[in-house]
Every structure is written in C-alpha cells, then in structure tokens.
C-alpha cells in the first residue's frame, strides 16, 4: 500500500471510529471518501467489516448505515465486496443487539431488497440476501413463539378489556379514515365478540384462540400505532444526535446535522433510498407498500412471511413498550377467539361487512378512565364517618360536593361490572366477581327457561299446548308464611337440585330444577311449596296403561301425554299418582292444602 493510500485509509478508519452515534455528517463524509477512492475499496470494506465486528453492539448499526450508504451511492464494487461477509456480519449483529435495533436492521434489510435504480436488481448479491432473509424468518418465528409464551393467560374480563381497548384504538383510527370499511368491519367484529364473550362460556383453549386471533387481526392496527410511537422516538433521538454532533458540524463547517436514517426517510429528495417508506408521512401507512416493488425477486409466499413476521415483531415491540409503561393489563387466561371463529365460520371476515350497522359511538376508554377516577374518588371513604351525611334539613337541601363528586360513584362506576342484560352492577372484589358470574349464568338459565316455556304459535295440537308448562301468578303468602320467608330463596342465583322431583318421579332420574326466579327452596319452608316444583312433577305413562290420557278427577281436564326427549318416555306433566289415581299435581296440592 502506498503512503497516499495508507493516509486515506487511516483517515477513513479514524473518521469511522467517530461513528459512535447515528450521525449523518459522518456517514456522508465516509461515503464521499469511499466514492472518491474506489481503488482502495478493498481496504475500506475491511475497515468497515472490522468496525462492525469489533465495536460495541450499540454502535454496530451506525457502521451498517455507513455500509448501506456507501453501497447505495457508490455501488459496485462495494456491493460485491460486502456481499461476501454480509450474512455473517448481519447475523452476528442481529443476535447481539436489542429489539429496537433489530427492527432497524430489518428495515434496512428490506431496502436492500428493493431494486436498485442503477442496476435494476437488489443492492447485494442474491445469495447473501437470501441467507439473511431465511435467518430473519427463523428469528421471527422464534420471536413469535416467545411472544406467544409471553402472552398472558386469557380470561373473559381481561379479553373484554382488550376488546374495549382495541375498540378505542380502532375508533381513533376511524376518526382519521372515516370511510375505511375494514375498520368499520373490525369494530363490528369487536362488538360481536364482546357480546358473545359476555353471553357464552368458553373453554380455556377457545379463549386462547380468541386472544391470538385478536392479536393477529389487529397486528396492523398496532403497527400503525407503533409507527407513530417510533416516529416520536426518532424525533427524540434526532434531538439528541443534534446536540452530540454539534462539534463535528462545527469542524466540518457543514450545516448538515441529524442522524442518517432520519433524514433519509423524512426527505424524499435525498439520494438515499428510503428506509422506512411505510412510516413516512407522505405514503399511506399500509403494510403492503413495504414490499411493494420487490415482488419480482422473492416468491410471494416469502413476502407474506416477512410481512407477517414483521407485523408480529412490531406487535411484540408495541406490546413490550406498553408493558414497560405499565399500560397493558395482561389477560391471564381465557380470551375472545372461538367467538371470532364462530362468527367467522362460514364466511370470510369481509362478509361481516354487510352486517355493519350503526355501531354505538361509545367511548370505552372514557369509561375506563371514569371508572378509575370513580374508584380513586371513593378510596378511604367511610359513609358512617361523614358528618355532612347526618340526616338534617341543611345537609339534605344543600349541595354536598362529597356526595356529587365522590359518594355517588359508589352507586355506579365503583361497581364497574355492569350487567349487559339488566344493568345491575357488581364490584371488583373476588366475591363480587363470583356473584357477577353467577348472575350472568342465572340470566342464561332463565332465558333458556323463558324461551322453553313460551307458547309457540305454531303448536300443532291443542293437547300439546295444554301440556305446556303454563306460568301463572302465585297466591300471596299468609302473614305467618311471609314473616318467616327469606328473600334469599328468591334472589339466590345458584342452581339447586330439586329433591322433590326425584322422589316423585317413577323413573329415578335427577333433574336440575331452578325455582321461580332461579332461586332455591329449602325444606324449612315446607309450607311454601312452589308452583314451579308442582309443575315439574310428572308421571311416566305406565306400560300397562291402555289410554295415553287421563282425566284429572279434580278439574275434570283431560291430560294428554307428551314425549319426553330426555328420558325417551311418554309422560304426563304436572301429574302425581295417589293411590293408583292420577291428578294434576297443582290441583292435588291446592285441594289438599285447602282441606287441611
């Protein structure tokens, strides 16, 4: 190497040594030297490779930016030389750096795949790029797996909360793109998922599926959000690098400041090809544009994979950053997705479009905030210790800020679990949540029973209609019965087995029976036989019986048998057998009660 060469390479190396931050001026200088001294290219490549290999992980990316800049501006032979070790350097770097840097490496890689203006091909040799690509796909898959492992176990309430958050985010996006049908459709899916989750019980697996699919459906939305987060970050970074590069700019007398890739992608007029075309404000933030014009170089399948892994890694990033900020509530178990499957069983997501109607403009985020505020407004408040709640004219007549600002929340938002069927509220303590779940189950059972007992308008025969489980008003209780009555028998939402039914049925099968309001009845209130339990008594038509009907000796009504699917037998409903005679259970009970 001649002295001149030695001097230039030494200069180059020492400037390269300064590249300890993302400095556009340094990279520009290095690029210029490389461009003007093509004959020493081999040395520059060695220096850069050495730099990438030896410098601390935090600075490796900037050296890569230098490589990127040189190759994009000077082109061959640098592109050829760098192609030799590109894969191993890239891989080594990728494995050493943090996730944020990784995504920057990936983005840089994507620009390498973009056809070069001069050559019409990708920046580096196909074989090197292909290896990197394979490596990235593997890495992302691993990533994804880790990510899945890290996903919290889904539960219904947590998934509901996820859905609420996604609804808010989607609504926010919709505000900017009011005509976006995809977003509308997503909103609809979300609201349907929410309803189904609230209505039905799902297995753990199903919930997990819901969770994953939610993540997938909304990976793109999250990417958009992530991009805006990143843009913000970059702005901050830019600020930082401006400060630290001050000295260099002074030395160079150059007015160019800022970091390499920032300027690259924020100014489309730069000679460098854009690194982050997808996040630049001028292009629509649609993921397909990321890979828009390289389809001629990679099989379509690979793009999809890259796209997906990219989405997943950005999702992962978003997830982690949100998590770090404590903004994520982690759904432990169950999740929303079988639901989604159910909804989507026969049709593609897009067909739900048809059902998109006026969705509630409810701002769920606001709800969450209000709930939190409500909760905090009532912490450490004990109603019995507040003098202004003393019952007197002044306290009642005057505005009491404590009541209007704090206490009132005890009636509403502090109990943030509001039943979507009846509006009843439940708090967040474990026992309240248990009650809430029992309450929802109760609605479910009751609704089934109401549906089951409602008289169908198309009932084929009168006999069938007569045997329907007819509902009627109960007699009131006598004073004594009422005094000893406990309303817990009505309002309990637990399921109970009615022993009465078992002992009175000839086929000894257990039947779960809930009483009038789904409550239980105890033997302690024996005098208070519920009409419901009477109606539930039945007698299987004896095989010896010639007639499938009998006449109730009390009301003279003819009772026809109905086929009971559960037992596979013909039965007489609301019937008891007394001394070989058959009676309406209700008639018999009334008569015996009145005559005692």
């Amino acid at each position: 190497m001649d002295p001149e060469a030695e001097r230039i390479v030494k200069d180059f190396t020492s400037i390269l040594e300064e590249l300890t931050f993302n400095s556009r001026p340094i990279i520009t200088t290095i690029t210029k030297i490389a461009e003007e001294n093509i004959s020493y290219s081999q040395y520059f490549v060695d220096a850069l490779e050495n730099r990438i290999d030896k410098c601390v992980p935090g600075q490796k990316l900037y050296a890569f930016y230098a490589v990127d800049s040189i190759c994009k501006n000077a082109g061959s032979p640098y592109t050829i030389y760098f192609s030799r070790n590109l894969f191993s350097l890239y891989k080594k770097t990728y494995l050493l750096v943090d996730n944020n840097t990784r995504s920057k490496l990936i983005n840089m890689f994507k620009t390498w795949m973009t056809p070069n203006e001069a050559t019409g091909g990708p920046l580096f040799e196909g074989a090197a790029l292909e290896r990197i690509e394979k490596f990235l796909i593997k890495a992302s898959a691993l990533h994804q797996k880790n990510f899945q492992l890290k996903l919290p176990t889904p539960t219904v309430p947590l998934l509901l909360r996820d859905i609420d958050k996604l609804t808010v985010l989607t609504n926010e996006r919709l505000r900017n793109l009011p005509n976006d049908e995809k977003l509308l459709m997503k909103l609809n899916v979300l609201s349907q998922l929410k309803q189904s989750l609230q209505r039905e019980k799902l297995s753990q697996d199903a919930l997990r599926q819901v969770q994953l699919q939610l993540k997938q459906i909304f990976a793109q939305d999250q990417k958009v959000i992530q991009d805006s987060v990143r843009r913000q970050q970059q702005q901050n970074e830019q600020g930082e690098s401006k400060q630290s590069s001050k000295d260099h700019t002074m030395e160079n007398g150059s007015k160019e400041t800022g970091s390499y890739n920032n300027n690259v992608h924020s100014e489309s007029s730069t000679p460098f090809s854009p690194l982050f075309s997808s996040s630049s404000g001028s292009t629509p933030p649609v993921s397909s544009t990321l890979f828009g014009n390289i389809s001629s170089f990679l099989p379509a399948q690979n793009f999809a994979e890259i796209e997906r892994s990219n989405k997943i890694s950005s999702l992962n990033k978003l997830y982690e950053s949100l998590n770090e900020e404590g903004l994520l509530y982690e759904p432990p178990k169950e999740s929303v997705v079988t639901l989604y499957n159910k909804l989507n069983k026969d049709s593609e997501l897009s067909s739900i479009n048809d059902t998109v109607k006026n969705l509630p403009p409810i701002s769920t985020l606001q709800n969450i905030l209000f709930d939190c505020k409500a909760y905090f407004s009532t912490v450490n408040i004990n109603v019995s210790n507040i003098p202004s709640l003393q019952f007197n004219q002044q306290n009642i007549a005057n505005k009491n800020p404590l009541v209007t600002n704090s206490l009132i929340n005890l009636l509403y938002r502090v109990k943030s679990n509001k039943c979507s069927t009846c509006g009843k509220r439940f708090g967040n303590a474990p026992e309240e949540k248990k009650l809430y779940n029992e309450h929802l189950d109760w609605h479910f059972r009751i609704n089934n029973r109401i549906k089951g007992s409602s008289v169908s308008s198309t009932s084929a025969s009168l006999a069938a209609a007569a045997n329907k489980n007819i509902q009627s008003r109960n007699w009131y209780l006598s004073a004594l019965e009422w005094i000893n009555f406990k309303d817990d028998f009505i309002v309990s939402t637990k399921e109970v087995v009615d022993e009465d039914r078992q002992t009175n049925s000839q086929n000894n099968r257990a039947g779960i029976v809930t009483l009038p309001s789904g409550g239980k009845i105890s033997s302690a209130t024996g005098s208070n036989v519920s009409e419901e339990s009477l109606y539930n008594k039945f007698v299987a038509v004896p095989e010896s019986s010639v007639d499938m009907t009998f006449k109730c000796p009390i009301c003279k009504d003819v009772v026809s048998s109905v086929y009971d699917e559960e037992s596979g037998e013909w039965i007489w409903k609301n019937t008891v057998s007394i001394d070989g005679k058959y009676f309406h259970a209700t008639c018999y009970h009334e008569t015996s009660k009145n005559s005692r």
Binding site: I362, I396, T421, G423, Q471, W475, V491, L534, H584, T586
Partner: protein, 445 residues
C-alpha cells in the same frame, strides 16, 4: 273504584315494526332528564347507547331495548346519555334539567349512614302533597339502597290508589331484594309459578278494598295495624331486612283527618323514625311539622316537589289501576301468565264486603270494622274483583276480617238462573274453600 273499562286488552307484544316508525336518537346531558309523557295508546322502545341512564333509580342496561306502554316516567341522565328510541306514534321528547336529584342523593347517603352505623335501618316515611313525587321518591330510594349493597329494604305502600306488586286497593309490604323492573309502573312482578326475567318479589298484602281511605278510616287504620304487626315480626326475624330499614309510601296529606291523628298513628304503629315531607305549601309544612316534631324530634326534612313529576289526571290513574289488575292475572309482555276460569256454584261461595261509610252513614264507630254479607247477584258482583282470604269459607266475619289475603279473583259472569259464577283465578285449580271480600274495583275484560 268505579267501573274500569278495559276492552279485551289481551297482553300482546309491542308491535313496533311499523313502517312509520323511525329510530330517533336523543342526547340527555348529565343531570338532565327526559320526562316521557307517554299517551296511553302509545308504545315506546328505548335503547341506551352510551352513558348512564336510569328510570326512577333503576339503571338501564346499555344496548338493550326497553319497552314502555301505558306509563308516564322519567329517564334521568346520571352521566351524559345517548339513546335511541322509537314510538308507535309521533312524540316530541323534551329535555329539562333535574334540580332535585342532588337532594335525593344526599337523602340516600344520609339513610346509608344510618344503615352503616347500626343494625336497625332507617324507617323513613314519605309524606306529601298530591302529585308531588312521593312514590317516585320511594322507588328511587329503594333502588339506590339495593344498588349500594345487597340490602333488602322493606317497601311499604300505604296508599291504596297505588299498585305496587299488587292490584289497586291494597296496602303492601315488600322486601326489595333485587332490581325493580324499569318498564313496569307496578315496579315488577310478584311471585309466579315460572321463570321471570328479573327476580320477582314476595309482597305481604292487606286488602283495603276501597278507593278513598276516608270511606272507612277505621278499616284503613286496622289494615295498617295488621300490616304493621306482620312487618314488625318480619323485621325481628330477618336481620337483613332489619338492617336495610323501611321506606314507606303514603296517601297524599289531604286524605288524612284534619288533626293528623292518623298520621301520628301511622308513625307509631310502624315505628317510623324519620320523615320526609315533599311539600311546597309552607302552611301545610308548618302544620305537619308541629304535629310530627313532638313524636320524632328533628328527624323530619322537607323536599320541594320532585323535578321529574309529570302532571297526571284521574283518567291516567284509572288506566294505571286497570293495567295493574290486568298484569296481576295476565302478566306483561315479558312474562305472560295464564289465569284460570273456575266455575263456582253459589253454595261454594261466601263473600263479605267492608262498610263504605260514605254511603253507610248509619254505622256507629264500633260497627265500622264489621263486614257485611254480600247477596250473590249479578248487579253487585258482575266484573267485580274479590279478595280471597286465608279464612275458611265458613269462618265468622271477625276471623275473615283478620285473615291474610291469598289473592284476587275476577267475577267474569254471574248466572243467577243456574246459581253459578265464573271466576277468573290467578292460579289454576278449583276456587279455594275460602271466604272472599268484595272490593270496589271493577274490571271489564
């Protein structure tokens, strides 16, 4: 209660799928209300889209359609509310601010403080002028009480013109153990034999059987005495009810004796320890205050006429009473009940009637409580509501007048020739072997 015409009003679902029905949206700002002055033949459906809305203290579920008919009520916005509504006829919603809500909240939390610091809940009597919002206040306070904790306040209705879990003409006591039905002017369902969408309630029922308490004040006070006896025993044996306390609705002040003796009796019989008077008339307030203060001390407060009150007339009240009778037998849209028509021979029936002293001026004070035997004839019994007692058919009149009420029957047909009647009963089966008491309610199916 004179004749209540009801032209074959079977319970049928709201036919809201009418081409002329548009879905309207409506925003109610926080603290304001929509007074739904719904004409009796209109059917209205409301769906809360966002925010917190309540009907007389009962919070409505969001995105659930509620149906209203034959009722005037108020939708109050606890927070900014957006809702959608449709109606069978054109309706112009008017939104106005509610300036008494804050006092009701103050009142609720004052009662809450009592429940919180003692095993003996407040026994608060609500009195006031006609159409001042007494019943609404009771309903709101009951709802807030169960909203706050799983209390079971005892709602006591002393106004026979109101129908709360019962047909009109009754005095009732009902533990409010779960949500009230925001769609129901009679607050919800009493127990039925089957499933109801909300938990039904179990009232204790005294039958006064007349419209004006002045028709037989002695009978009214005797009803109260019996009711109070049952209530006080229930409270003693039911710790939750005891702690939750009583909320007592009462007839308007103009119906009491001029010296307010009956008010004092009510306070004492039911161990009332707090009184809320809704009254804009200073003179009346002063008069009541002078009478009540010596009994309960300073524990009487005054509220202005409630903001949500909708001016109504007797025609409306009659139609409410008529629907309460219909609902007793037939249920409502959500809970369709099947009553049973029993054929009853004259000799299976004993019917008594209370004395109406408005006409029966000859009766002395001692005789006022006496029941009179009713001659079985079409002119007195056709379309009449009778109260079926727990007393045996052959029991003497003292026993009958002390007996609890089992339920009501509607005499749909009197056949004097064949000495037979057809009586509509809530419960299928024979007419009970029990004595009945004629009420002044008439219902034409």
């Amino acid at each position: 209660m004179s004749l209540l015409p009801g032209i074959n009003e079977a319970t049928e679902p709201l036919e809201l799928v009418n081409d002329s029905n548009e879905v309207h949206s409506l925003a109610i700002p926080i603290g304001s209300q929509w007074k739904v002055d719904l004409p009796s033949d209109f059917k209205l459906a409301i769906t809360i889209k966002s925010g917190i809305a309540e009907v007389l203290g009962t919070e409505l579920a969001n995105d659930t359609e509620y149906h209203f008919q034959n009722w005037k009520f108020t939708v109050f916005a606890v927070e900014d509310v957006e809702l959608s509504w449709k109606c069978t006829q054109s309706l112009q919603p008017k939104i106005e601010s509610n300036n008494t809500a804050s006092q009701i909240y103050n009142l609720h939390f004052a009662l809450e403080k009592v429940r919180n610091s003692s095993f003996y809940g407040p026994k608060v009597l609500i009195i006031g002028e006609r159409n001042s919002g007494k019943t609404s206040l009771c309903r709101i306070l009951s709802s807030y009480t169960i909203k706050f904790k799983s209390y079971q306040p005892l709602l006591i209705n002393l106004d026979p013109n109101e129908s709360i879990f019962s047909p009109p003409g009754c005095l009732t006591a009902t533990p409010i153990s779960d949500l009230l039905d925001p769609q129901s002017p009679s607050w919800g369902q009493s127990m039925t034999s089957g499933a109801t969408a909300l938990h039904s309630k179990q009232p204790y029922v005294e039958n006064f059987g007349m419209e004006k308490i002045s028709s037989n004040k002695q009978r009214y006070m005797s009803n109260i005495e019996q009711l109070a006896s049952a209530v006080n025993k229930r409270i003693t044996s039911d710790a939750l009810v005891q702690r939750s306390g009583c909320i007592i609705d009462s007839p308007s002040l103009d119906q009491y004796d001029d010296n307010l003796d009956d008010l004092e009796q009510i306070i004492q019989r039911l161990n009332v320890n707090m009184v809320v008077i809704i009254c804009d008339d200073d003179g009346l307030y002063q008069k009541v205050n002078n009478r009540v203060k010596p009994i309960i001390g300073d524990l009487m407060i005054r509220l202005p006429k409630l903001s949500g009150v909708i001016e109504t007339d007797d025609v409306y009240k009659r139609s409410l009473q008529r629907s309460a009778i219909r609902e007793y037998f037939y249920g409502n849209i959500q809970t369709v009940l099947s009553p049973f028509t029993a054929g009853v021979d004259y000799n299976e029936l004993t019917i008594w009637a209370p004395r109406d002293l408005t006409y029966d001026t000859s009766a002395g004070k001692d005789e006022a409580l006496e029941l009179l035997p009713v001659t079985l004839e079409a002119s007195t019994l056709q379309h009449a509501i009778i109260a079926i007692t727990y007393a045996d058919k052959n029991a003497n009149k003292e026993e009958v007048s002390k007996a609890s009420i089992m339920g009501f029957g509607l005499i749909t047909e009197v056949n004097e020739k064949r000495q037979k009647m057809r009586i509509l009963l809530p419960v299928p089966g024979r007419f009970p072997h029990n004595a009945a008491i004629l009420t002044s309610s008439r219902y034409l199916e």
